[in-house]
Symmetry: C2
Subunit: 339 residues, 2 copies
């Protein structure tokens, strides 16, 4: 399987590391062999070699400009991303560039370009599936290509595969989740007495929160995932993102946290998705709710189903290898569908 | 898809109800149509009709002898179970008779008879997979038939499908779980001050525990599931059941429960399975462990993986529709593999 990676930050590098370190295991257990033939970045150039790039050397230059990748016969540098996507001899485009939840661009155009040139698309980028799930699914179906997006919700923890495959035959009536690790970390720290600002600083120091934490603390990252769940499970409209009710955790005070504790409850930034609509807001959960027990940077999702009742999945919601695994799981699914 | 149900107690009836109530939904969403052509019970006779039995009428006589099922042209009564399994025109045998964890019989022979006559096998019975997984898997592979056993661990909560399919690509290093709802219910009740005997009586009154509660409280039910996990995930030996270390909860006292509470911990009957071996015993878990938070009759399993870290699934571990769904999920998988 020949891959182009669009985006070569933490997530793309995580996938590359996995492909390097587990090559023998993946071949033995799943008959899976992958080759990275192209890498495209926004600021650090592009590389293409139809015979395959060397992962070790790619990772060695990953902190610098891709210019530093050594020359070899057949190597092409600095093709435009669009040309690389359209013209590369590749089976799959892996989209792991930063998410834009407003327009999904440029990733959305890249997805159409890849599907249009006969490539499967596997992504960690949350934009395309939250903005244009129906259209993308239709384009993929039309071309007989697969669309993979496990890594967009809870990194590689198989929240979507659980709902779409393992729970097939159940009807999912409602989804509740803690889908943003940064805010969950902040709220957990506040329970041990920390003020909001201090907990946020700590989250930033640990690399959980960005320098501009708006997308996390104001609930937009969680909302993006809510919209993905709504689109994928309930056939939500692509424009739902505009209408989802979103409130973040900025206004939660130490006094609020203590009041909840005194009542045997915990504040959580909860995502709730039903066929009727979605909402993201901080709520006080009783300790008996499995979601109340999800601490630190962990994520969790509870599916309420007709036949099984509640099914809860708890796991990592971010991380280099964790998100890289989400991409790998989709690549394995592409292979199963195209043996 | 034509089914024979072997065993028509709670679980078999649960599947029949689902097939009746969700027929339209299953057809529309998955193109799945199933017909029960045979039912076999140990004490209440057998029925076979190559044109299909009427589910409504089957459920109406399910508390009595199957003799009460109305006559119709082509109906055959009281064929021996062996003949029914071998000679019925059917695609799948569903084994939902009571589990025998010592010998797996007679279910194990039924499984071989079904595979030998070209039928797929889907089971809720825990005996065959815990005693003879390798041999059964080999027989199924040889005949190109599927072996389904999701319902043997955590009813229909997709614990096995999560490990085998959704986590494919990860290496599972260890499994920890709360896999017996009866003992978990008893331990949870003891935390609110109840003595062991009283909590056991309550579990019996609620139908969680059998009149003879030995299999639950002495850990054998949990051990059977540990062996299934060991066999399926780590290629354990079929004779591992003899060597697994098992201790139940009979000796846990109210004083033990209080001592754990005082230390911020909780007693749980924990199953631990690694490639090196399996153990079932009561342990004190810190409240920070997601498994410590699983209360009442719920079950849970934590897979420790190389790429994702810990992934925990919490859900029902028993129940008519819940276990019936486990069987349905396997039937849908049979259909996906044989479109």
């Amino acid at each position: 399987m020949r891959l182009i990676l669009v985006g070569f930050g933490t997530v793309g590098q995580g996938l590359a590391e996995i492909l390097r370190d587990k090559a023998a295991e993946l071949r033995a257990h799943y008959g899976f062999e992958a080759q990275i033939v192209g890498v495209a970045t926004g600021q650090r150039g592009t590389l293409y070699h139809p015979g395959g790039l060397n992962i070790e050397q790619l990772l060695a230059v990953s902190q610098a400009h891709l210019d530093r990748y050594p020359d070899s016969l057949g190597l092409q540098r600095n093709l435009s991303i669009e040309r690389l996507i359209r013209e590369a001899q590749a089976d799959v485009m892996v989209e792991a560039s930063p998410s834009n939840l407003q327009t999904a661009q440029p990733a959305l155009d890249y997805c159409y370009a890849a599907l249009g040139s006969g490539k499967h698309v596997v992504m960690a980028n949350k934009g395309p599936i939250s903005i244009a799930y129906r259209e993308l699914a239709q384009a993929a179906r039309r071309g007989g290509r697969k669309l993979g997006f496990e890594a967009t919700v809870m990194a590689g923890t198989p929240a979507l595969r659980l709902a779409l495959e393992a729970l097939a035959g159940c009807r999912i009536l409602q989804v509740k989740g803690i889908l943003n690790g940064t805010t969950n970390y902040i709220l957990t720290q506040m329970e041990s007495g920390m003020e909001y600002g201090e907990a946020l600083q700590q989250a930033q120091a640990l690399g959980y929160a960005e320098t501009d934490p708006t997308a996390d603390v104001d609930g937009w990252d969680a909302a993006g995932k809510a919209v993905i769940l709504a689109n994928v499970l309930f056939g939500g409209q692509s424009d739902e993102h505009g209408t989802i009710a979103v409130r973040g955790i900025r206004e939660i005070t130490q006094a609020d946290v203590q009041a909840a504790q005194a009542a045997g409850e915990r504040w959580k930034l909860l995502v709730r998705v039903t066929p009727e609509g979605s909402i993201v807001k901080p709520v006080r959960l009783p300790l008996s709710d499995p979601l109340a027990q999800v601490g630190g940077a962990f994520n969790a999702v509870t599916y309420t189903t007709d036949l099984l009742g509640d099914v809860t999945l708890v796991g990592a919601g971010a991380g280099r290898l964790q998100t890289g695994f989400g991409l790998l799981a989709d690549l394995l699914a592409v292979q199963r569908a195209n043996p």
